[in-house]
Structures are given as C-alpha cells and as structure tokens.
C-alpha cells in the first residue's frame, strides 16, 4: 500500500468501525421506534407465507399483504432501520478489510479483530436472510447484540495490529475461523429468535410473529449453522494436527467448541422429540449460544489455553 502509510490505514480502519457503530446505533433507535409503534398494531408481521387463494375461475390471487399495505410510522421506521443496517454493515466490512490490509493478513489474529469480524458475521447472516423473508421485526434484536460486540471490541479488546504468531500462520486458520464466524453469527441470530419465541404474544411482544413461526425460524437458522459449526470444528482439528501433532487434545477451547456442538445437536434432536419441540427446544438453543459465548470470551480471557493467543 503505497498511497496510504500504515498509520493512515489503521486510522481509516478504526474510523470505519466507529462510523458503523454510530450508524448501527441509529438503526437500533429506528427499530426501537418501530417496535414502540408496533405495540398498537396487534396483527403479526406475516409476510413470508405465500398462501394462494383459488378463485372459481381458476385464476389465482396472492393474499393481500397486510403488513405491507400498512405503511404506518412504525413500519417506516423499520424500513429506515433496515437501510441503516445495510449501510453499517458496508462500513464495517470496509473497516475489517482495511484492518486486514494494514496487517497484511486475514484480520483474525486477536480478540479485537475476531470480535469486529464476528459482528460483521452476525449482520451478514441477518441481512442475507432478510432478502429471503421479511425480518424487519427482528432488526432490533440483532443490532443490539452486534452493538454490544462492537462496543466490547473497541473498548476492552482493542489491540494494535501485529503479525500472527507462527502457530496461527496457516490457511486452515482462515477456513476454520471463517466458518466459526459465520456459524457463530447464525447461532446469535438463532438465539435471538429462540428468545423471542419464549416471550412472543405477551404484552409488547404481541406484534412479533407467533410463537410457532419463531420456533420454525430458529430451527431454520440453526439447521443452517450446525453443519457450518461442525465443519469449523473439523477444520480446527486438521489445523491442530498440523500445528501440535494431535487433532484433538481437549484443550479448553476445543472442549467448549465440543460442548457447543453437543448442545446444538441436542437442540436438533429436541425438535424431533415429542414434548421437547417447543419452549424446551428454544431454551436449549439459548443455552447452546451461551456455550458459544463462553468459548469465545470466557476461554480466551479466563482460562489458560493454547488458543489464548496474541493480544489477549
């Protein structure tokens, strides 16, 4: 990079991360406004169903979309929130990429970098999914944990960039961490929908999709992220075999990755077990996400592990 010296690159990366936080904060406010306004709108946001009415003539009409026809202030605020989330995600992407350019490697060498990348992972999973179905009601519950992650990153976890320690120099790192970030992002979105399914229908939360719908969505996200997480664990094992001479050694980080995996396996089982399909399954999904968090923060910070790497 000739046109920018390294200090400028570092500043640019940080500024993009800060800018994305500000925009994400505004998005959160928009979603909150929408949520507050939605309290009066009792009909659930139900757009994804494509139930087809059949007229006697044989021509078919798609059911009028209740949600879209009511462009009330709350809905407008939610749309603004979505646009701001896209913008914030773009900014964060640039921030993460610049960080990588500055360091001359993938930006996953320490907890700070891993956190901003994870925040990006959560947003990307959410936004990509939102192109498939209307998820405006979920925006608030995704932007808040993302903001918290970014807040932790820039305050507690910030590290100057540096090269990787030799054990981290491997393309398996890139594959392993990429899978972990996407899987973790989806687990986070899944924990949000699982949590909402537990409170949907009560008080302010009447505006959310009904419980069963939320449970179905949770299942979809976790069914998506579970194979990815499995792959991340296997890729990590391959990497460990190359670096340390054993593919599995029950290091605390490995142990918690395994615990997380087992709990989500239990979740998927619960969804096929009579009497466990609903609230209990949602609770398991949240417990799985907590295990993921323990692995991510707890092990890096509190437990002495081979993985407690550079800068933290």
């Amino acid at each position: 990079m000739d046109f920018m010296n390294s200090v400028q690159l570092a500043d640019a990366s940080n500024n993009f991360v800060y800018a994305s936080m500000v925009i994400l904060f505004l998005a959160t406010i928009s979603f909150s406004v929408s949520f507050a306004a939605g309290r009066r709108r009792v009909s659930p946001v139900e757009v994804s169903s494509r139930r087809v009415l059949v007229e006697p003539s044989g021509s078919q009409v798609h059911e009028p979309d209740v949600a879209l026809t009511q462009l009330d202030p709350g809905r407008r605020a939610a749309n603004i929130g979505m646009s701001l989330t896209w913008l914030a995600t773009g900014m964060l992407l640039i921030g993460v990429v610049l960080r990588g350019v500055w360091a001359g490697r993938v930006p996953w060498g320490n907890m700070y970098e891993f956190s901003i990348s994870s925040a990006l992972g959560i947003l990307v999973v959410f936004l990509v999914w939102s192109t498939q179905r209307d998820l405006r009601w979920l925006g608030l519950f995704v932007t808040i944990p993302t903001l918290l992650t970014l807040g932790m990153a820039v305050t507690v976890l910030y590290t100057e960039s540096a090269q990787l320690v030799p054990a981290l120099k491997s393309y398996w790192l890139v594959i392993h961490v990429f899978a972990a970030i996407i899987g973790g992002g989806a687990f986070t979105v899944g924990a949000a929908t699982a949590g909402l399914s537990l409170i949907s229908g009560k008080g302010w939360f009447k505006q959310l999709p009904p419980r069963e719908k939320l449970e179905g969505l949770t299942h979809k996200v976790i069914a998506f992220s579970f194979p990815i997480w499995t792959f991340a664990v296997v890729a990590g094992a391959i990497w460990a075999e190359n670096a340390w001479g054993r593919y599995w050694g029950w290091d605390p980080k490995e142990t918690w990755a395994f615990i997380t995996w087992v709990i989500f396996a239990a979740y998927l089982h619960a969804r096929s077990t009579a009497g466990w399909k609903h609230q209990k399954a949602s609770v398991i999904a949240i417990v799985g996400w907590v295990a993921f968090l323990v692995n991510y923060f707890g092990v890096n910070i509190f437990i002495n592990s081979l993985h407690s790497y550079a800068g933290m």
């Binding site: 494509r50 139930r51 087809v52 059949v54 044989g58 078919q60 590290t159 100057e160 960039s161 540096a162 090269q163 320690v165 030799p166 054990a167 120099k169 491997s170 449970e215 179905g216 299942h219 979809k220 069914a223 998506f224 579970f226 194979p227 499995t230 296997v234 391959i238 990497w239 075999e241 190359n242 670096a243 340390w244 001479g245 054993r246 593919y247 599995w248 050694g249 029950w250 290091d251 605390p252 142990t255 395994f258 615990i259 087992v262 709990i263 396996a265 239990a266 998927l268 089982h269 096929s272 077990t273 009497g275 466990w276 399909k277 295990a291 092990v299 437990i303 002495n304 550079a310 800068g311």
Partner: protein, 508 residues
C-alpha cells in the same frame, strides 16, 4: 414383569429419542470440568501444582478423576451409553429406510382440497394430462405412481427427498466411525517428546526420548527407524511496539537419515509444517536456551564442559535449569536462571524482558555435598536435591565471566549459549479414518438438514364438458394439485406452484 420383558423395556428406554437427548446433555455437562481443571493429558505440571496448592481438596478431586476427565469412568460411561443408544437407534432404521427406498409412494388421498389443494381447469383428456404431469414430475426427479379412484378420477402420487433419511443415517454411522478412529489412535498410536540442542542428533528409539507414551497396543520396540540432526534453529521475535516479544518465526533445519536411503536429506521444519517420516510426524513445538558452562574442581580440572538445557518459564524466556557435577569431589550442584535480556527489579528479582539474546546473563546458586544420584531413585535432570548439600553462595555471570566458588570448591564459567528445539514425534494410525468419517458426517448432516421429504399429488377429474364442434373434440378437465412436507415448519407450496404453472403452460 419378566426378566426378558424388563430387558426389552430397558432397551426401548435406552434407544428412545428422549434418552438420546438427555445423554447428549449429560455429555455436555460432564465435559465442563475438563475445561476448568488442568488435565493430566495436556498439562501434568499444572495438575501437580494444583494438588500441591490445595493439599486437602486436590487429592479428593484427583481421586474422582477431575484431573483426567476425558479418561474417567463416569465420562466413559456417558459416551458409551450414548453410542449404544445410537447403535440401537439407527440400526433398525437402516432396514426401514431400505424398504422405504424401494417401495412406491402411497396412493393419493381422496380429498386434495383438504390439503390446501390448488385447482384449475385445462383442456385435454384426463389420461393425457396425467401422463404430462407424470413426465414433469419424473423430470424433476420425483418418484411417481399413477392410479385411479373409484369415481373415475386419475392421479399421480409423487415423493421426493429419500436422501434426507439416507443422510441422517450416514451422519449417525459416521459418528460411530469417528469414535472407532479415535479408539484406533488411542490403542495403536504413540507420541514422544524430545529436546535437541543445535548440532545434536536424535535417533528414533525409546531410550532417546525425554518422554514417551503409547497406546496399549502400540509397539514401543518397533518404532520406525530414522534419525536426524538439528543443524540450525532460527527464531525471530516482534520488535515493534505492539505485542513486543511475540514469536514471529521459528524454523529448524534438520538433516534426516532413513534406513535404505542413500545419503541424508535436509528439511526445514516449522510450526504448522511438520516433517513426515513413514507413519510418524515430527512437529516443532518449542524452543529455548542452553547456557554453555565450564566447571572446574578444586584442583582446576575440568569436570563439566557442556551446554545445559534450561526450560523457559515465561514469554520472555526467563529460563530455569540445574547443573549437576557428579565427577568433582565433593560433588557440586547449581540451580540457575538464564536471562536472554537481563533485568532486575525489586519485586520480580532477576528476570528477562525480551526473548531474544540481547543482554545475556545467568544467575547461579551453588551447592556442594552429595547429589544423591546413587540412592537408586531416579532424578529429573531439571531438579536438584539439596538434602545432603550445603549452599556455597549466589552469583551472576555474563558471557566470558567466571566465578571462583567459595571455600576453594572450584569455579564455573559461562562461555556462551546454544539454542535447543523441542519436538513432538507422533504416530496416530486412526486419524485418517477419523478424518474421512468427519467428512462423511458433514456430508450426511447437510443432506439430512437441507433436503426435505415431500409428497405431491396431481388428480384429474372426469371430463367436464365436450366441445360442440367436431373439430373441438377435446374436453376440459379439472386438475387438482396438492403437496405436503414431512418435517414441521416446511411446506410444499413452491413445488405445487411450480407443477401448476408447468401444467398450465402445457395446456395452453
């Protein structure tokens, strides 16, 4: 309940989904202490320290296996039960799935409109429409069967997504295979550690290892034959402001000899880039310093002239080691501290502030007396037993300096230092199986989670009206299309829409 009845009841309980669920949970829970307490397998030194720090609690926790969670009976009990349940659960499903794969889809239900059916009219004979529908479905890889209701309406019944169950079974069987791979590695695998100084050699026999462990069925006598010399060892540390002292590069240049091979080959071994020799892999796992010392006895005779391996204690390579001189009279012993970049402070005492050898010194404590080497109890080369020794004094040395020991006991001189690298040499014959099984598991899992088992039906009623003119002999028929997905939370709306559109397109 008879004994057989009871056993059958027990088996049904064990192989129920609910038991599987609870065992999975248990597995997660019993894994937790393994991440909190230090484990013998990975960190035996920390375990000993833990037990020493908590003399009452330590041995109790030790006796219930909390320092060896993953080898403890209760941990084994949980996963063995889980796998018995797994086998009992999936083996019967194999047969069921096998016959499901070869049977035809069941007939269409009487009333499709109850299933959210989608009806319209097209021109044509019912037989032709059914044939069209079947052709469309076949092209989309549905398994189809045709039939006729008593009222004369014809139908196609189609099913798709058998691979879901196939994937699920592959996934669960792969889990068993992974376990087999792990077990093979545990029984036949072995691993050893050795520290090699620069310029020194190693040959792969049991006696040359500092530590060696193998599975019950591994052959310690028949290790693959090879030897190597550590020709040079390169290491670089971060000198910038951020993460100063973090390792950036370490690489070992090794000259390897194998039997049946002419001459030696030179290899560069780095972290993440092990050296593969037959079934064994040589990994570079650590490095450190070995101060070179010359010890003379009271008569000025050289009794030791060697580089002694010191073990790093922190990231800046403050290293500790022990020098034993059994050949002097009385015997001499030293405890030492090697500092690559020396510093001394009130609270830390002598310590190193950077891992590279920028400002080398050693701090030595000298003892004379009896080293206790003849007692028959084997001693670690890293500890000095001073029970029968008296302390002579303390001194610090830089390279080239020497210390005349008090009471004319002799002298010790620091002439320089060497580097050493530590290697882990491992063989795990189960790892390929575990890898292949993991890949199969992921593939099976993906099939099982992304493929939906769906059924669709197309039903064509009798002709509604006949065209009046002779040219317009074709009638109109009522067509109904409906579908379901077997898993909750899914539907077949898209598939039904697609068929409806294609059929209409063909009719027009």
């Amino acid at each position: 309940m008879s004994q057989r009845g009871f056993l059958r009841w027990l088996w049904r309980q064990l192989t129920s989904m609910k038991t599987a669920l609870i065992l999975l949970f248990l597995l997660a829970i019993v894994s937790i202490p393994g991440s909190y307490f230090p484990q013998r397998g990975t960190n035996p030194i920390l375990v000993d320290q833990w037990i020493a720090d908590y003399p009452t609690l330590g041995p109790i926790l030790d006796s219930i296996g909390l320092f060896d969670v993953f080898g403890s009976p209760w941990y084994s009990a949980v996963y063995i039960l889980l796998f018995i349940s797994l086998i009992g659960c999936v083996v019967p499903r194999l047969g069921v799935h096998w016959s499901a794969m070869r049977s035809q889809p069941p007939p269409a239900p009487k009333n499709l409109s109850r299933l959210g059916g989608n009806s319209f009219e097209v021109e044509g004979e019912s037989e032709a429409v059914i044939a069209d529908a079947r052709a469309i479905l076949k092209k989309q890889h549905w398994r189809t069967v045709v039939g006729q209701d008593p009222d004369g309406s014809r139908w196609v019944s189609a099913e798709k997504g058998y691979l879901r169950e196939t994937g699920n079974l592959v996934f669960h069987f792969s889990l068993i295979l992974i376990l087999v791979g792990v077990a093979v590695g545990g029984l036949f695998g072995w691993r050893g550690n050795v520290i090699v100084r620069e310029g020194e050699g190693f040959s792969n026999t049991l006696t040359q290892y500092d530590a060696w462990g193998g599975g019950r069925l591994s052959s310690a006598e028949n290790l693959p034959e090879f030897s190597f010399t550590l020709e040079s060892f390169n290491v670089e540390f971060e000198r910038g402001n951020s993460q100063e002292g973090a390792p950036r590069l370490f690489e070992a240049t090794m000259v390897v000899d194998r039997p049946g091979e002419e001459g030696s080959t030179t290899h560069l071994v780095e972290v993440n880039e092990p050296l593969v020799i037959d079934s064994a892999k040589v990994f570079l796992v650590g490095h450190g310093y070995a101060p070179h010392l010359i010890v003379r006895d009271s008569k000025g005779q050289v009794v030791l002239d060697d580089a002694v391996v010191f073990l790093p204690q922190d990231g800046n390579f403050t290293s500790t080691g022990v020098i034993k001189v059994p050949d002097s009279d009385p015997q001499l012993g030293f405890r030492g501290l090697f500092l690559p970049t020396s510093a001394i402070t009130e609270e830390l005492g002598p310590h190193s502030i950077f891992p590279a050898p920028d400002d080398v010194s050693v701090f030595l404590g000298a003892w004379s007396g009896n080293l206790g080497l003849d007692s028959g109890i084997s001693q670690s080369v890293y500890t000095l037993n001073v029970d029968d020794m008296t302390q002579l004094g303390l001194e610090s040395l830089r390279v080239g300096q020497s210390w005349q020991l008090p009471e004319g006991a002799g002298s010790i001189e620091l002439t320089g230092f060497e580097r050493w690298a530590s290697f882990q040499i491992a063989s795990d014959p189960g790892k390929e199986l575990a890898l292949v099984a993991s890949i199969l598991a992921i593939a099976g899992l993906s099939l099982s989670l992304f493929i939906q088992r769906r059924r669709v039906w197309v039903k064509v009623g009798p002709v509604i009206e006949q065209g009046s003119s002779s040219r317009d002999k074709v009638g109109r028929v009522k067509v109904e299309v409906a579908g379901i997905a077997k898993a909750s939370g899914h539907d077949a709306i898209e598939q039904v829409d697609n068929i409806v559109e294609t059929l209409k397109g063909q009719g027009a």
